[in-house]
């Protein structure tokens, strides 16, 4: 009956204050609420997992551990009113826990591991000579859906829906496969950023020790889409054949995803202003105008999508331009048509290239949407639904419902209790399932 005792304790009363108020039924309240956040940090935030992950085995349980490792890691907090606290560091998991509980940050960012404790950086600054400098950092990618704005038409800016999520899924699959197969990394954590993107943490020790230059080279390896608003050529691909990485991405992921999902959901070929962008990219004007005439005459938009796509494919691959133009044309169009991967560049390239960039911690709550930044399993990223990830409000409802039911169901969640203690037990399968991903493949000390 230990469980019961715990639940009847003061923590229970805390919940009462906020959640017992009857919420409007069936209405999704996504608003972000500092008081809810307090409860979230009080009962749900996985401190010990974050600590275990960030320690990478330097947690006192292994013989050759580096005691100072965790406390050289920078955390930064964004408080209410946008007060920004950088260079926070903690000696232990419980120190971190109490700081987070006390400050109740709206956002927690994780920075690099520095050469010295970032809290004490000023005492080293006298010595000069960059004593305070980042020494380790996960390789990170920050992929943002708004970078796809010129090829998606369902939403724009920071909105995301099930029609454009496949774009993210494609990016995840392509990058994840390349990180594993090409670069040989194994410990990769994908996290939904809470609103319009995903974050990727590559945690292998080899990845954490990459220099800035090596990070840039990886970012460039993935980087296909080039050029700003005023440039003409958007994809930079030379040579008649694709590099194996691109060829594999194309056949394994892109063609499929393009033909099955995006072609229909984004209606790229049915509206003149959309397909015109694509026709403009065809260097051979005769092909472009042939297609244009054909499509303009044909006003029935119902048949258009894959018929037109096939018409174009055939025309590009056939006939007169065979030897010289064909491959190049096709390759050049490839990005635009297949909405090639991580073209979004900007945001993530910069984040990825430098060790000392900050990235939001997993399991934060996004202040605008109230969604929790949960891990995503790259093998099932197609079925991930950004619109139904747990929100702060939903979690507290579950927490509340769980605490009321707890006496009846006591003992029914033995497995999750083992993982996360009693708190997570109350949340039903969703949260515990997400947590399991992270525990399984990222928090593995290396």
């Amino acid at each position: 009956m230990a469980m019961k005792g715990d639940l009847d304790g003061p923590a229970d009363m805390q919940i009462d204050g906020y959640v017992q108020e009857p919420l409007p039924p069936n209405e999704l309240i996504q608003e972000f609420n500092s008081d809810y956040l307090k409860v979230y940090y009080g009962k749900l935030f996985p401190y010990s997992d974050i600590f275990r992950w960030m320690s990478y085995g330097n947690d006192g349980k292994h013989p050759a551990h580096d005691q100072s490792y965790f406390c050289r890691r920078e955390f930064s907090f964004t408080l209410e009113n946008d007060v920004y606290l950088r260079f926070q560091s903690f000696k232990t998991a419980s120190e971190m826990e109490s700081a987070i509980k006390e400050k109740c940050p709206h956002k927690i960012d994780i920075g690099p591991v520095y050469s010295v404790d970032p809290m004490k950086r000023h005492s080293y600054s006298q010595a000069g000579n960059n004593v305070f400098t980042p020494v380790e950092r996960e390789l990170i990618f920050d992929i943002d859906i708004s970078e796809y704005d010129d090829v998606r038409y369902c939403c724009s800016g920071s909105d995301i829906c099930l029609d454009c999520w496949p774009l993210m899924a494609v990016a995840i699959k392509v990058i994840d496969t390349a990180l594993r197969d090409d670069f040989g990394f194994n410990h990769i954590l994908w996290v939904y950023s809470g609103r319009r993107g995903v974050h990727c943490w590559v945690c292998d020790s080899r990845a954490r020790r990459l220099s800035n230059e090596q990070r840039s080279s990886i970012a460039d390896y993935f980087h296909i889409y080039k050029g700003g608003e005023n440039s003409f050529k958007k994809a930079s691909l030379t040579g008649p054949v694709l590099h194996p990485f691109l060829a594999r991405s194309y056949t394994d992921v892109l063609v499929n995803s393009f033909e099955k999902n995006l072609l229909l959901s984004q209606k790229i070929f049915s509206l003149p202003e959309r397909y015109q962008k694509i026709l403009d990219m065809i260097p051979d004007e005769s092909i472009a105008s042939e297609l244009q005439e054909k499509w303009q005459g044909d006003r029935k938009s119902s048949i258009s999508e894959d018929v037109r796509w096939n018409q174009m494919k055939n025309l590009l691959q056939s006939g007169k331009n065979k030897t010289t133009c064909r491959c190049r044309v096709f390759v050049g169009l490839w990005k635009r048509l297949c909405l090639l991967i991580p073209t979004q560049e900007l945001t993530w390239r910069h984040v990825s290239k430098h060790m000392n960039h900050l990235l939001k911690a997993p399991f934060c709550v996004h202040p605008k949407t109230g969604r929790v930044c949960v891990p995503i399993d790259p093998n099932h990223c197609d079925s991930f639904d950004p619109t139904s990830v747990p929100t702060l409000t939903k979690l507290l409802e579950e927490l509340n419902a769980g605490s009321m039911k707890s006496e009846i169901e006591d003992g029914m969640w033995p497995e999750s209790s083992n993982f996360h203690g009693r708190d997570f037990r109350l949340l039903g399968y969703k949260v515990t399932e997400y947590c399991n991903y992270s525990v399984c493949y990222a928090f593995n000390p290396i």
């Binding site: 920004y84 197969d181 670069f183 040989g184 080899r206 080039k226 005023n230 590099h243």
Partner: protein
């Protein structure tokens, strides 16, 4: 003086003159040579830097480097050539070890120099040099090769090559060949890059680079802990003068003549901004918004031309508030402007971007930063130039330069067309464009550091031993 052979014997035997600069030479150097050699080498490095910023292609760079080397690094006594190479390198290490910025520049130029000199070597001496680096890589054996042959072929075809599939391949950790990885010129499998013999220069260069990078940090430590003080009457003044003089001004501090205020800014943008800044400026006026890197490029430029922090904040607020409101501006954007002025974060006073940096930047959807000559389509560029009043013959000349990738020359020609005055120095920095333009429009005296003073300043023939200085 003796010729140093100790650490270079093998490659010397096959006639190689390329040094890896493993350790400082055990030889005496006259103080005037100390300086003159360094200046000669600086000319080479500066030439390389110019070549790179003009966007020269590798084969053009090969000529540039070869010419520069011949012109500056010759010595009347052939036996002294190699000493001159080594001495000048170590002197410049001392000069360029002292700040992050200097180290970065030196590292990048020396690495480029080394790369091309390595390419001039015969394949036999290349192999010997590789041995000297003690690179632990074995060539792929037949079974391994067969396993990945198709992929290797695919990679070389993707670069438009057909020939190198029969050459030897090495398997190296991908970390060692970042440039090959970044440009997708190697096949990657489980963390290993498959490098063809003719790409081996990348491996060697990356080792050279990382050795030199570490050495610079160590030299810096010695410099600050002992050398600077010990040599304060002899080497320190020379060393300190050498770096600041030759690189030219970095435009991070606007000089007093050039302070500008908000009310002048529109008129100045029209008369004296280079095309890249003009474009950003008018886009900002039009959209009341710029993405991050556009804000950086324009913001630091404005700082460089003398816009004070308060004016800068007012300037950006006027525009951004029309789009995002005052509140959001204060919360999200004001920080980064203060940051640029060294008032936030790590408090670095950031330097305005040079042409080289702007030309090599990449742009994406919604971006307006970068170099218009490089990043615009011909059509957009023509339109943009027409707005500045450049037309007819001059416009065609500019476009012609762009087609040959001479972006800075194109900018220089634009400058000349707009100001109807030749610009002999060429444009290397947007802030230089501004200053030159202002000089013509409102003549003011600006004193730039003059290299020549160094020739007359020291004629001291005391001897020093670099080795002792560097290892003390």
């Amino acid at each position: 003086m003796e010729i140093i052979r100790s650490h270079k014997k093998t490659a010397l035997e096959v006639g190689s003159s390329l040094s890896l600069y493993r350790c400082a030479p055990h030889l005496e150097v006259r103080l005037d040579e100390f300086e003159l050699y360094a200046i000669d080498r600086l000319r080479v490095l500066k030439g390389i830097s110019d070549g790179l910023s003009r966007g020269r292609k590798p084969d053009e760079m090969e000529n540039v480097v070869s010419e520069l080397w011949k012109a500056n690094m010759r010595h009347p006594d052939p036996s002294q050539m190699m000493n001159k190479d080594i001495i000048s390198h170590f002197v410049l290490r001392l000069v360029y070890c002292r700040t992050e910025e200097l180290r970065k520049w030196f590292l990048s130029m020396e690495t480029t120099l080394f790369r091309y000199r390595f390419r001039f070597e015969s394949s036999e001496s290349q192999r010997l040099l590789m041995n000297e680096f003690q690179l632990p890589y074995k060539a792929l054996n037949l079974a391994e090769y067969e396993g990945v042959k198709d992929k290797l072929f695919q990679v070389s075809r993707s670069m438009g090559q057909y020939s190198n599939v029969d050459t030897t391949f090495f398997k190296v950790p991908f970390e060692e060949v970042p440039e090959l990885v970044g440009s997708r010129r190697v096949f990657l499998l489980k963390g290993n890059a498959y490098v063809a013999m003719n790409q081996a220069v990348s491996i060697v260069v990356s080792h050279f680079r990382s050795n030199l990078s570490k050495a610079l940090v160590l030299t810096n430590r010695k410099w600050t802990s002992t050398i600077r003080e010990q040599e304060k009457d002899r080497l320190t003044p020379i060393v300190e003068a050498l770096s600041s003089s030759y690189l030219g001004p970095d435009y991070s501090l606007p000089n007093e003549f050039a302070a500008i205020t908000l009310k002048d800014i529109d008129q100045l943008a029209n008369s004296s901004f280079p095309l890249c800044m003009r474009h950003l400026f008018y886009k900002l006026r039009e959209d009341h918004h710029l993405k991050h890197r556009g804000r950086m490029q324009l913001g630091l430029f404005l700082k460089g031309v003398g816009l004070k922090l308060d004016d800068a904040l007012a300037f950006w607020r006027t525009e951004f508030s029309q789009k995002v409101g005052n509140d959001r501006f204060d919360k999200e954007y004001a920080y980064s402007i203060r940051h640029n002025y060294g008032k936030e974060g790590k408090r670095t006073d950031y330097t305005p971007y040079s042409c080289q940096k702007i030309i090599s930047s990449t742009a994406s959807v919604g971006d307006h930063h970068g170099c218009p000559y490089r990043h615009f389509s011909e059509e957009s560029l023509r339109a943009a130039l027409a707005q500045t009043g450049v037309g007819g013959r001059a416009l065609d000349d500019v476009i012609d330069k762009v087609k040959h990738h001479h972006y800075q020359l194109a900018c220089t020609m634009t400058f000349e067309a707009i100001h109807s005055t030749p610009c002999d120095t060429g444009i290397n920095h947007p802030n230089q464009y501004f200053t030159e333009s202002q000089k013509l429009l409102a003549p003011k005296v600006i004193i730039l550091a003059d290299l020549e003073i160094f020739y007359s300043r020291f004629v001291i023939s005391s001897f020093i031993t670099l080795f002792q200085v560097l290892t003390s």
